[in-house]
């Protein structure tokens, strides 16, 4: 597998009232092309900061992020970030949102592309709707489609489904897996939901409490579709929860 992302000894701290606060302290890992890597960690451990550094929104204090062997210093449409709160523009229709990142092409061609991806995420018939007319799950689909339509090589997903209810979250995971089976992207996922990580990822990195370091790595060698009730999944879940300091009796 070709190396897609290489994170080398990344450090980041922020100035606070009580001096400097170290948020990320020496994180290194590599992600292969087409690999799905999930990060789990306690809340406030610096997961989002790490993701923002890798996506190019914040520069690291020390260390570097290489994408395809090139140092990444600013965000680009090569890697699209999908965050918990979502950023579908409320003033544009679904179609216009999806066309947003497709600059420099013929209008009709952009609209076709947009509608194609609206179809892929199950939003056919809602192309002319405004985001406030959509439900939370549909909004997530729109966000996902807007990312996919620019054919990004990497998807950075920061707790993408945590604002949804449990049922919708499960459905969106299945949708994501279906889409990824059709067009392969390299995915980095941040989540606090261990089950979500096991459901989706090829590899799970457990982060320590702040400042974030990689505490443990788990390979998930289970074929898709994964049965979440299977003993293998349960064993893995217990092992990861153990790393996170949660007892199996919880």
């Amino acid at each position: 597998m070709r190396t897609k992302i290489e994170v080398q000894d990344v450090h980041k701290s922020f100035a606070s009232d009580k001096g400097t606060l170290s948020v990320v302290a020496g994180v290194s890992f590599t992600v292969g092309e087409g690999e799905f890597v999930a990060f789990v960690g306690p809340s406030g451990c610096g997961k989002s900061t790490l993701m923002n550094i890798i996506a190019g929104f914040i520069p690291p204090d020390q260390g570097s992020v290489l994408i395809d062997g090139q140092e990444k210093s600013k965000p680009s449409s090569k890697g699209i970030l999908i965050s918990q709160h979502g950023s579908v523009f409320p003033w544009l229709t679904v179609r216009r949102n999806l066309m947003f990142g497709l600059s420099g092409r013929e209008n009709t061609e952009r609209a076709e592309s947009a509608d194609h991806y609206a179809g892929i995420v199950g939003l056919s018939g809602f192309e002319k709707s405004y985001p406030h007319e959509l439900s939370g799950g549909m909004l997530k689909r729109a966000e996902l489609a807007r990312a996919l339509v620019v054919k990004p090589e990497i998807l950075f997903m920061d707790e993408p489904f945590s604002a949804l209810d449990a049922l919708m979250s499960l459905r969106m995971r299945n949708e994501l897996l279906r889409i990824l089976s059709e067009e392969r992207h390299t995915v980095l996922l941040i989540t606090h939901d261990v089950e979500e990580a096991i459901h989706l990822a090829d590899r799970i990195l457990v982060l320590s409490p702040r400042p974030a370091r990689i505490q443990a790595t788990f390979e998930v060698r289970l074929p898709h579709p994964r049965k979440l009730t299977s003993p293998d999944v349960q064993d893995l879940r217990v092992a990861i929860l153990g790393e996170l300091g949660v007892d199996r009796s919880d």
């Binding site: 996506a55 929104f57 600013k74 965000p75 680009s76 449409s77 699209i80 970030l81 965050s83 709160h85 979502g86 950023s87 523009f89 409320p90 003033w91 544009l92 216009r96 947003f100 990142g101 600059s103 405004y130 985001p131 406030h132 620019v150």
Partner: protein, 252 residues
């Protein structure tokens, strides 16, 4: 039906006020202060000889000219000040000093600069409505949620796309609020400005009616008409809030 029910209390209050007014005028036997009926006949008189429309037209024209001029200046300036930190730092203090000065205080200077023609009230309206619109537009740009700007940054769009598809639509609801405030102030000011100079407009109608034979029925008729037109203007601005490009802001 529910709308009628909703309007019922306010109609009742108006009826009561008019009744009290009528009773007090009748009881006191005042010869100068008019009864409600005299105001009605006075208004009919103004409508019949056509002067009412002339006054309304003159006032609206001045407000329209001054207000549109203010929009044309305030919106680009507000966007610029909101987006460029240096522009904000340089200009905001000046505007904060100019803003609290009542437009009425500008009247002597307006007369000095523009004489007693139409230009003076148009300038006063411009001065009074431009600042609230600048402030609202600037605040609108500052209030754009970072996640939207970051998304735009992520997709690597051109500056043109950034402005036309993110910044301006995001600020539009604030601009409309600014326009509502601006037009409200403009309508207040045109009447005041017309009381000083000029030979037309609703402000002139009020002052002239008092000066030429204590026609207080026409004074009150003028006041009520000013109030009603103000209400209509605000209603027209409210319609803008229903536009599909800004409905997202008011939808929840």
């Amino acid at each position: 039906m529910t709308r009628i029910k909703q309007a019922l209390p306010s109609v009742a209050v108006i009826v009561c006020l008019v009744a009290v007014w009528w009773a007090v005028v009748a009881a006191s036997g005042s010869v100068i202060f008019p009864s409600p009926w005299q105001v009605v006949t006075g208004t009919i008189e103004l409508i019949r000889d056509g002067t009412l429309w002339e006054h309304i037209g003159a006032s609206l024209l001045r407000v329209g000219a001054g207000f549109l001029l203010a929009v044309a200046v305030a919106v680009p300036l507000g966007l610029w000040m909101g987006w460029v930190r240096g522009a904000f730092d340089a200009l905001n203090p000046i505007f904060q000093i100019l803003r609290p000065i009542s437009p009425i205080a500008w009247i002597p200077i307006a007369i000095l600069w523009f004489g007693v023609g139409n230009a003076s009230p148009i300038y006063l309206i411009f001065i009074s409505s431009v600042f609230p619109m600048i402030v609202q537009t600037t605040a609108g740009v500052h209030g754009i949620e970072k996640r939207y700007l970051r998304a735009a940054e992520n997709f690597g769009v051109s500056r043109y796309t950034l402005f036309t598809q993110v910044v301006i639509p995001a600020v539009l609801p604030q601009i409309i609020i600014g326009m509502r405030i601006g037009l409200g102030v403009a309508w207040l000011v045109v009447v005041a400005a017309e009381m000083i100079a000029l030979r037309s407009g609703l402000g002139y109608l009020i002052i002239d009616s008092r000066n030429a034979g204590n026609r207080y029925d026409l004074v009150i008729a003028g006041m009520i008409i000013i109030g009603l037109i103000g209400l209509l203007l605000d209603g027209a601005m409210r319609l803008l809030e229903g536009l599909k490009w800004v409905r997202w802001r008011y939808a929840h």
